[in-house]
């Protein structure tokens, strides 16, 4: 599996799992000039809008996928969230940024780690 297709299947998987858990997917791969948000979703039992960044790797050889979120990516995610919120006509009372790390070996089962609330 190529880098791009591994990444997009990881995003598909994350969206499926979130949907299965009762989340309402609002947008996927939402783009603006600052970059792209992988998933925008709403938590099942609350008004919180969650921006989800998905990171997928085929092995732990170069570290856990979550470790690849550096200070710059964190800043970008915050900017993107702001840009998305600015475009909404209605008031969004609460939002959060989550990261889902997926380790997906070529011949094995994917393993998801959901980090809630990026600081």
């Amino acid at each position: 599996m190529s880098r791009q297709s591994l990444g997009s299947s990881g995003e598909d998987l994350a969206a499926d799992r979130l949907g299965a858990a009762g989340w309402r997917i609002i947008a996927r791969n939402w783009r603006c000039r600052h970059g792209e948000i992988d998933i925008v979703a709403e938590e099942p039992d609350g008004p919180t809008v969650v921006f989800v960044e998905v990171r997928t790797r085929s092995s732990l050889r170069s570290g856990h996928p979550l470790e690849s979120i550096g200070a710059r990516k964190r800043r970008t995610l915050r900017t993107l969230a702001g840009a998305w919120l600015a475009e909404q006509p209605q008031w969004i009372p609460q939002f959060r940024i989550d990261v889902i790390g997926i380790v997906w070996p070529p011949d094995g089962q994917p393993e998801l780690t959901h980090l809630r609330g990026l600081s």
Binding site: A14, R17, L18, A20, A21, W23, L66, L112, L115
Partner: protein, 536 residues
Amino acid sequence: MSTAASDPEALPATALPEGRAPSEARTRRIGRTEAIALAGLDGTPVVVEASANAGIPGIDIVGLPDAAVSESRKRIRAALHNMGVTIQTLRYTVSLAPGSVRKVGTGFDLAIAVAILEVEGCLDPAAVRGAVFCGELGLDGRVLPFPGVLPTVVSGMRAGFRRFVVPAGCAEEAGMVPGAQIVPAVSLADCAVTLGAKDIRPAPAEAVRPHPVRHAPRPQIHDLSEVQGQDDARFALEVAAAGGHHLLMMGAPGAGKTLIASCLPGILPPLDPPAAVEVMALRSLAGTLTREDTASALPPFETPHHRTTAAAMLGSSRPNMVGVFSRAHRGVLFMDEAPEFSRDVLEALREPVESGWCRVSRAWGSVTLPAEFQLVMAANPCPCGAGLGPDSACRCTPADKRRYRDRLSGPLLDRVDIRLEMLPVTPADVHAPIPRESSEEVARRVVRAREAQAARYADMPWSTNARAPGAWLRRAFAFSAAETRVLDRALETGALSMRGYDRVVRIAASIADLAGTERPGADELGAALLMRTQEG
């Protein structure tokens, strides 16, 4: 051992109550170790806590770490990985408390790594408690020496700790502290096993020894038997050694000032064990402690060049730097060409000479290091250095000479008991057949003189004649008018000040101690007066 694979925070996270991720409940454990933060020779006990919580995986260190402490994250990560430990994919927060104390240097690596291993549940918490950990980590997990192991153990003992895990290469220096239980650690894995780790197999490794510092050799110490003639100077040096008096030698180039000065460490009594620990602790902090040092009780001998800056003398450039004054602690500081030193240096000398301490306050903080040395200064009588006497080629004006001497300021010279004028060696001295006393013979007399002083000052806060107050000595010796006639005359004519008078009494006490007489009499006072050839 927890691994990323066995401990994921897997989806669906929403199946659980809000705010309680599954792994958080299982890993709510805190690793706690003890370390020492050094500021000079003084150490503050530091509690190192580690905790693993949800977040971007990595290690955060809080608690006023300097750059070297912050970098330990990377060393620890590599060391853990290379010893086969995979830590959880969680955010590790390491706190060094109290957070208000500055943490300097690489010695915290081991304490932090052990705290993290404890979070992982690999260690027996009971084995970790009560021990102080210090050491830098190599990328392969070996525990490396760092400057300041000995002062760490000394201040740890003072804070009530008894067990110290130290780099195996530093076990010898750490072992100098009586009563300390030293646990040498070759590697982090080796350390973990002694702390009860079951599933860690330490790879065989050799202890990393501190690098012997390969700068220029220590200044050479000469033997008194090499000195030709200069009987007055030999005697003055012996008196200076006996009473711990500061000494100024004035004389033409070639008179043997430098040679005489470099004989002093050889006739001083060897360092007693507590003093030796202080000296070694300073060398350890400076990173210049070699293996030969730990076995030797020779007093330090520092010979700074006259262009040395005040910052280097005081050790004020950066935290935990040891200046020349402190390197000379309990030994000899020899300042050749003393008037050539910068005014800053000569003024900076005043505090250590007065109090025996070197206090430094800079933007990075303040540090006080011991600096109780015996000062020996050598000076030419004039800036051209051509010397004195009717045949000399010196063309300096009297004003030049005066200016040159005035560079050594009054307050500094006030503390110098013995001032000696040295004349050039004559051919008769060179060919004199009399065998000259060796340093060893003189040293025996000096040791006896020191014993006499120790007995006399047993209940006093000072231990040498040089530090004894004049009034106390005058009262203790109760001189008769006949004994002090020469002195009184000099005082009357203004040739001697009251301060100078007391100094003569101190020197006389040392002369008497060398001779083995109970108290100085008229002869000793007369001889002492001759060692003060200038007014002061």
